[in-house]
């Protein structure tokens, strides 16, 4: 039921809301602009050492160079591909394992301590093992991204599945529903928002995995460029790649949030 006739008071209220939003957005942009200007200014007057701290214009030049010699998109693509693959395998695989564990209580009881331990373990520690087993190529990097995201996915999704209202399950049982129907009609749709928050977490996890994976062994990617830049003291390169990373992760997060809006549309 949409109201189409509004009082002047309502108009004023909506106007205020809009103005608030504009002020916030301006302030957000303002913070970035002030930060960049200050950084540039301090570097120009020599208050900070541009060789160590870099500066916005130097970063911009580095990015332009990378773009012009075709390096930028090559490295972006390598990292993005590893991250997306790790993200997909981690999320889908983790959810699938969570489904199996929800289904079988005995299996869940047996595996629980192992999952807890794996969750607490810093996955980076497995780096050398992964390299020895999966080689030094992209396979190892994707494995790292999967490992980091899959355990969190299992724990989050299983927790969501198990929290499904027992009364709603009773209701379906009184309708003679089998376990498969209970899962697909109730447990899974009830946890679409859990899945959405899982996806959001995994955007971050997959990036951690792929960049950390690129650090020790790789010949391409943003993580490779950052480590290379650090080793040869090209801080402009390190900073430029970090900023590209920020942008990519931000865009990915935004897309996931968009997807969530589409799937949980009943909430609005």
């Amino acid at each position: 039921m949409k109201n189409t006739l509004f009082s002047p008071m309502h108009k004023r209220y909506v106007k205020k809301l809009k103005r608030n939003k504009i002020v916030i957005t301006c302030a957000q942009i303002g913070v970035l602009v002030v930060f960049l200007c200050l950084w540039e200014l301090l570097a120009q007057v020599g208050f900070i050492d541009a060789f160590l701290m870099s500066s916005p214009t130097r970063i911009w030049r580095t990015l332009a160079d990378l773009y012009l010699n075709g390096q930028l998109f090559y490295h972006v693509w390598v990292s993005l591909f590893e991250t997306l693959l790790g993200f997909l395998i981690g999320t889908v695989g983790g959810t699938a394992i969570a489904v199996v564990l929800w289904w079988s209580k005995p299996l869940r009881d047996v595996l629980q301590p192992y999952i807890v331990v794996l969750n607490s373990l810093p996955k980076i520690a497995l780096g050398p093992i992964i390299i020895v087993w999966a080689g030094t190529g992209q396979k190892a990097i994707v494995t790292m991204a999967v490992l980091i995201s899959i355990i969190v996915t299992i724990i989050t999704m299983l927790g969501g599945f198990l929290q499904t209202s027992p009364e709603k399950i009773l209701l379906l049982e009184s309708m003679n529903a089998n376990k498969m129907q209970i899962f697909f009609k109730l447990v899974f749709p009830a946890n679409l928002s859990t899945l959405a928050s899982c996806l959001k977490i995994n955007v971050g996890m997959a990036w951690i995995g792929s960049i950390m994976g690129e650090y020790p062994v790789s010949k391409a990617g943003l993580g490779y460029l950052i480590v290379y830049g650090g080793q040869v003291f090209k801080m402009d390169l390190v900073m430029a790649c970090t900023i590209v990373l920020c942008l990519l992760a931000g865009v990915m997060y935004f897309l996931v949030a968009l997807l969530e809006k589409f799937f949980v549309k009943w909430k609005s």
Binding site: L171, S174, M175, Q181, K185
Partner: protein
């Protein structure tokens, strides 16, 4: 007349690691076709256990439960269940919520869908058909829950304090609505409640249970069926004395 639902010397004991609790002991009663019966008892006396047994989600430790003369061993589509909360699925529209049972039982025939559409229309939910549950009031949601249950054409409807989560005004109105719907569709109903006035105003007979382990303390006849609605029954001169008597027996 043959009863629709029979409890024959039913006992139920729950076991936990540290303890065992007898909830029901030698409970027997008959529920006849078209009848509205309430079960009244002190809180924690095993009223919900009784409904779980009738619906077949629990098995009695002793005795048997008969539905249309056949022993209840598992859940059956002849029994509908209405719970304290409406438990509508938030991600489904009202229409899709009503069709849930038919989907589960793979009975989406034209005839059954038409039956649902008739129920939706007749009980004033047509304009909300494509709304989501969040957009409806508590009383309205509970009405949808009733229609979702009726969509499966149950012979017996079990009601587990379905009004207790609502405010008093809504509750009185919904009692009238639900009573009218149940009588009109000719459904046999078994209501579990701790609200004495609700039990008197809605039912033909009231089974009063003793404290745990619950036995049948007394079967009470309300003799108010000459009034068409629960609200009118509340105004009958015998209502207050009945209330007083039951109140003493329950507490």
């Amino acid at each position: 007349m043959k009863p629709v639902l029979t409890f024959d010397k039913v006992s139920m004991t729950y076991y936990t690691k540290a303890n065992e609790t007898q909830a029901l002991k030698d409970l027997s009663f008959d529920l006849f076709k078209g009848e509205f019966m309430s079960v009244l008892g002190p809180s924690g006396c095993g009223k919900t256990t009784l409904l779980s047994l009738a619906s077949g989600t629990l098995k009695p430790t002793q005795g048997q439960i008969l539905l249309d003369g056949k022993q209840v061993t598992k859940t059956s589509t002849d029994v509908g269940y209405m719970l304290q909360r409406d438990h509508l699925f938030e991600w489904r529209t009202i229409y899709k919520n009503v069709l849930l049972g038919l989907e589960i039982q793979k009975k989406m025939t034209d005839e059954n869908v038409k039956h649902c559409e008739r129920l939706i229309e007749e009980y004033g939910l047509k304009e909300f058909k494509n709304h989501y549950p969040m957009q409806l009031s508590g009383g309205m949601r509970q009405r949808v829950a009733l229609i979702r249950t009726l969509a499966l054409k149950p012979k017996v409807l079990l009601l587990d304090e379905p009004f207790s989560a609502l405010d008093f005004q809504t509750r009185l109105h919904l009692c009238d609505d639900v009573h009218a719907i149940i009588k009109k569709e000719g459904i046999t109903a078994l209501l579990v409640t701790h609200d004495i006035s609700e039990a008197i105003s809605m039912s033909d007979r009231i089974a009063i249970l003793s404290p745990r382990p619950a036995k049948l303390h007394r079967m009470h006849e309300t003799n108010l069926s000459h009034h068409p609605t629960p609200l009118q029954r509340r105004e009958d001169p015998t209502f207050a004395p009945q209330f007083e008597r039951l109140w003493k027996e329950v507490s």
